[in-house]
Amino acid sequence: MDGMHDMGGMSGFGRIPIEQNEPVFHSSWEGRAFAMVLLGFSWRRWNLDQTRSSHERFTPQQYLSLSYFERLVTALADRAIKAGVITADEVKVGHAASPSQKGSQSLGAAAVSAFLRAPRNYLRATTAEPRYKVGDTIRTVTDSPESHTRLPRYARGRDGVIVLYHGCNVFADASAEDRENPQHLYGVRFAARELWGRDGDPKSSVTLDLYEPYLRHV
C-alpha cells in the first residue's frame, strides 16, 4: 500500500533528531505500550505482517502526528478489535464489558524471558528452484497494490543486481493476509544513480531484501 509509511527518498523532514544518552523509553507508558504489543503476539491471533499492515492504514496525517509508540498501541487496539478479542466500545470506556470467552490465558512474568527468546524461523521448504542467482541483473516490478507489500516506491521499476540469496521465506504480502505462500528472497543492490538519477551519490548503493514475485529478468 502506498501509504505514509513508505517514506524512503522523501524530502522535507529536516535534520536527524539525534539525542545523546537517550533512555530506552522516555516515559513509562512507552515501555508498557511496547510490552503489550509483544504480549499481543502470545495470543496467536495475528502476525507481524498483519501488524505492519495496520500501521500502513493510518491516514498520512495520523501517521505523522502519532509517535512510534502511539502508533504501536493504536495498531494493537485495531488488531485486537478486528480479531474480536476486545470491542471498540471497551477501548472507548477503558474497561471490559465481559470477560474473555476463553477465560484467563495471559502469559505470566516467569514465562517472559522464554517467550522473548523463542526462536522464530521464516525459512520454508520448497520444491521450486530460485529463478535468479547471485550476480544476475533484475528489474523490479511497478505494481502498486492496495494491500501490504515490502517493495518500497523508490525501488520500483529499477534495475539492480542480486548480491545475496536468503532462501525461501514466508512472503510478507501473503502473511499480511494470514497466508504463508513462501517465496525465494534475495538481497538486491541498486546503484544510487539508478534510484535517484543524477542526484544519486556516485559511490553509494542501497540493498533491499526482495521477494521473487517483485523481480523480473531484464
Partner: protein, 207 residues
C-alpha cells in the same frame, strides 16, 4: 495534537502534573486487557525490564569485539551470523535472521528500515528515536553521505557507502573496523569502544 512530554510527573512544567494523553490511553488499554484476562501486568513489567536492562547493544558489542580478536569467529560471523548467534545461545527477536556486513578500507555500511523500523532487537535492543524518525528513514537511502555527516561521520568521497534497507525479516549488523592503536586492548576493553551507532553504521569506534 500530540505534545512530546518526556518528563511526565517528574518535571516542573505545569503540563507534567497530568499524564500526557497517550499515557492515559495506554493505561486504559492495559486496564481493559487485564480485566479480560489477556495480559498480566507483571509480564508487562518483566518485558520492560528485559529491554531496559538485559537486551541491548552490549550484546552486539561483545560479538564485534570477539570478531576483532578471533579471526575464525569473524569468518564464521560473516558467513552465517545467525548460526553464530544460535551457538552463543542468542535466540528470538530476529536473531535467526541476522546478517553481519563488514566495513573495510573502501566500504562503509549503514542500516535503515524505510518502511517501518525493523532493527536487530536480539543483539542491539530497541532502536534509538532517530532510527525511527521520518528524517532518517526518508533521507539515508537518498543522501547517506549528508546524513552520516550529521552524525559527525565525514566519509571521504572515495569511500563506497552501502545502505541496507531492512525490507524483509533479515536483520543487519554492521561489523565496524577495529580502531588503529587498539592492539593492547583485551576483548572487554574493545567491547567498550563499540557503541550502538557503530553497529548501525552511523559512527566509527574511537579509542
Amino acid at each position: 495534537m500530540h505534545v512530546h512530554d518526556h518528563s511526565p510527573g517528574g518535571g516542573s512544567a505545569s503540563h507534567s502534573l497530568l499524564p500526557s494523553e497517550p499515557a492515559l490511553r495506554v493505561k486504559a488499554i492495559e486496564t481493559l486487557l487485564v480485566e479480560k484476562g489477556l495480559i498480566d501486568s507483571a509480564a508487562v513489567d518483566a518485558i520492560v525490564d528485559q529491554f531496559e536492562n538485559k537486551i541491548g547493544p552490549k550484546i552486539g558489542a561483545g560479538i564485534v569485539a570477539k570478531a576483532w580478536t578471533d579471526p575464525g569467529f569473524k569468518q564464521a560471523l560473516l558467513e552465517d551470523a545467525a548460526k553464530v548467534l544460535a551457538d552463543l545461545g542468542i535466540s528470538g527477536l530476529g536473531a535467526e535472521q541476522v546478517i553481519a556486513v563488514e566495513n573495510t578500507e573502501t566500504i562503509h555500511n549503514v542500516v535503515v528500515c524505510t518502511l517501518c523500523s525493523c532493527y536487530p532487537w536480539a543483539i542491539l535492543g530497541l532502536p534509538p528515536g532517530w532510527y525511527k524518525s521520518d528524517a532518517y528513514r526518508s533521507r539515508v537511502v537518498r543522501e547517506p553521505r549528508k546524513v552520516l555527516a550529521e552524525f559527525g561521520l565525514e566519509l571521504p568521497e572515495e569511500i563506497e557507502i552501502r545502505v541496507w534497507d531492512s525490507t524483509s525479516e533479515m536483520r543487519y549488523l554492521v561489523l565496524p573496523r577495529r580502531p588503529k592503536g587498539s592492539d593492547r586492548l583485551n576483548e572487554t576493553q574493545l567491547a567498550a569502544l563499540v557503541t550502538r551507532d557503530c553497529m548501525i553504521g552511523t559512527a566509527l569506534p574511537r579509542l
